[in-house]
């Protein structure tokens, strides 16, 4: 039986490229979520992420080393 994209990403076959990506450290659950979005939604998320991450560059340290 043919496996769905979801099954391939969430339960990769040993020795597959998907399994290698998981071992490398790629979050396959996030990749699956990306595939569910439209290209426009992916771009919108990326743009928002860039704005939010930039905020972290300006975050003011209150305490700690």
């Amino acid at each position: 039986m043919k496996r769905s994209i979801e099954e391939k990403l969430l339960n990769p076959k040993p020795g597959s490229k998907v399994a290698a990506a998981k071992e490398f450290g790629i979050d396959l659950t996030l990749l699956l979520r990306q595939l569910r979005l439209t290209p426009q939604q992916r771009l919108d998320e990326l743009q928002l992420a860039m704005i939010e991450m930039e905020e972290f560059s300006k975050a003011k340290r209150i305490s700690g080393k």
């Binding site: 450290g25 975050a59 305490s63």
Partner: protein, 160 residues
């Protein structure tokens, strides 16, 4: 997204520490991520606060096929080191400990506190972030180690 997730955690007084790629970025690694990774205090009261923070946003486990997806429930936190959720306001990974470093109290002791999005949040220390990456040992984690260690050296030089 990350801002909404942090605001919801803060609004519900959740005890948490930012770890992962957002922490990488805070220390200077140029990376873009759309998910928030946090270490949470495993106290029962804190878990209830986490549930309150995300229940309105239809949280579902990302690492289960759609037919097996569960909603956010305190039973899920039993004996689980990591929980990967997708919510209406973004993706969040919840960890009860940081591999190579320890539990919430251990990480909290060395964490830094920053003002971001008009709330105070804790971020894992650079030293602990490096320990965690080394302990994780995956290629992706090891690749970022030289840059983090260089940053640590530069930052410590500045303080001398």
């Amino acid at each position: 997204m990350i801002k909404d997730l942090i605001k919801s955690l803060s609004k519900n007084s959740v005890e948490f520490i930012i770890i992962g790629e957002v922490a990488n970025f805070y220390y200077g690694i140029k990376t873009i991520t759309t998910k928030l990774e946090i270490l949470y205090s495993s106290e029962a009261e804190n878990i209830n606060k986490i549930i309150s923070a995300f229940s309105p946003f239809n949280p579902q486990l990302r690492d289960q096929t759609e037919s097996l997806r569960y909603s956010l429930d305190k039973d899920l936190f039993q004996n689980k080191i990591e929980l990967l959720f997708e919510t209406k306001i973004g993706c969040i990974d919840l960890f009860s400990e940081v591999l190579g470093v320890g539990d919430f109290k251990t990480v909290e002791a060395q964490s830094v506190e920053v003002d971001i999005f008009d709330v105070l949040v804790k971020i894992i220390s650079l030293d602990d972030l490096i320990k965690a990456k080394r302990a994780a040992g995956r290629t992706k984690d090891l690749l970022v180690l030289p840059e983090l260690e260089a940053l640590r050296e530069v930052l410590s030089d500045e303080e001398e």
